[in-house]
């Protein structure tokens, strides 16, 4: 009798643990993908600084990209805070994260447009490659928020 009760408790605990880790997984994965976005922004900053130093992009082009990166970075940081503020996954969490993540997507689209107008072909390709890495992380988050 005692053994049966113990087994039932263990099974219940395992189910609970599995459900909790599944919930935490989504938030953890979203936080990880957002950290990857921040790392991608960091790489993009270094790249555009390098291109500007080599005079491959103009001051106006660098300013335009910097402004767009600034907005993306702020949106990504806000999304990060939103993820941190939620301890469990439910519909309210999902809705709040979708709202916050819309700013990240809009900022990235704007940045991609700004990157496209860089005149130098080689620089434009390098910028687009850096931005596609950021885009890959946003796709992961979009998948989590579905």
């Amino acid at each position: 009798m005692l053994k049966t009760r113990f087994t039932a408790i263990v099974i219940f605990a395992l189910i609970l643990l599995s459900a909790t880790s599944c919930t935490d997984d989504r938030l953890r994965k979203a936080a990880k993908a957002d950290a990857d976005i921040a790392a991608g922004i960091n790489a993009a900053i270094k790249l555009k600084r390098e291109l500007a130093k080599e005079k491959k992009i103009s001051v106006e082009e660098e300013l335009s990209i910097t402004k767009a990166l600034f907005v993306l970075n702020a949106a990504s940081a806000q999304f990060h805070n939103e993820v941190e503020n939620h301890k469990e996954w439910n519909e309210n969490t999902r809705a709040a994260l979708i709202r916050s993540f819309a700013n990240v997507t809009a900022a990235l689209n704007d940045l991609i447009e700004k990157g496209v107008i860089v005149k130098d072909d080689e620089s434009r390709l390098k910028i687009q490659a850096a931005l596609s890495l950021i885009r890959a992380s946003t796709v992961i988050i979009e998948g989590i928020l579905k």
Binding site: A38, N42, I45, L63, T66, V71, N73, A75, A77
Partner: protein, 80 residues
């Protein structure tokens, strides 16, 4: 109320109102440019003195925005 207190409160309102980041960034850059001209300090020194601890990306982007605005002013100075 003096203008410094006015500015402090207005920035609080701007932050709470959801003013777009691009515009908040522009205000920060203009303030840093004015403080640099007045104090002769670098952007990094100003942020350090203000006790601002921000992530590396925001720090670098703010420094870059200030540098680029300065370069544009040098290329195309405003008409006095």
């Amino acid at each position: 109320m003096n203008y410094l207190e006015f500015l402090h409160r207005m920035l609080g309102v701007a932050s709470a109102s959801g003013l777009p980041y691009a515009q908040i960034g522009q205000i920060a850059v203009e303030l840093i440019l004015k403080l640099k001209a007045h104090t002769g300090m670098t952007t990094e020194q100003l942020m350090e003195q203000a006790g601002i601890t921000i992530d590396e990306n925001t720090k670098w982007l703010t420094e870059d925005l200030v540098r680029l605005e300065e370069e544009i002013i040098k290329i195309d100075p405003p008409i006095e």
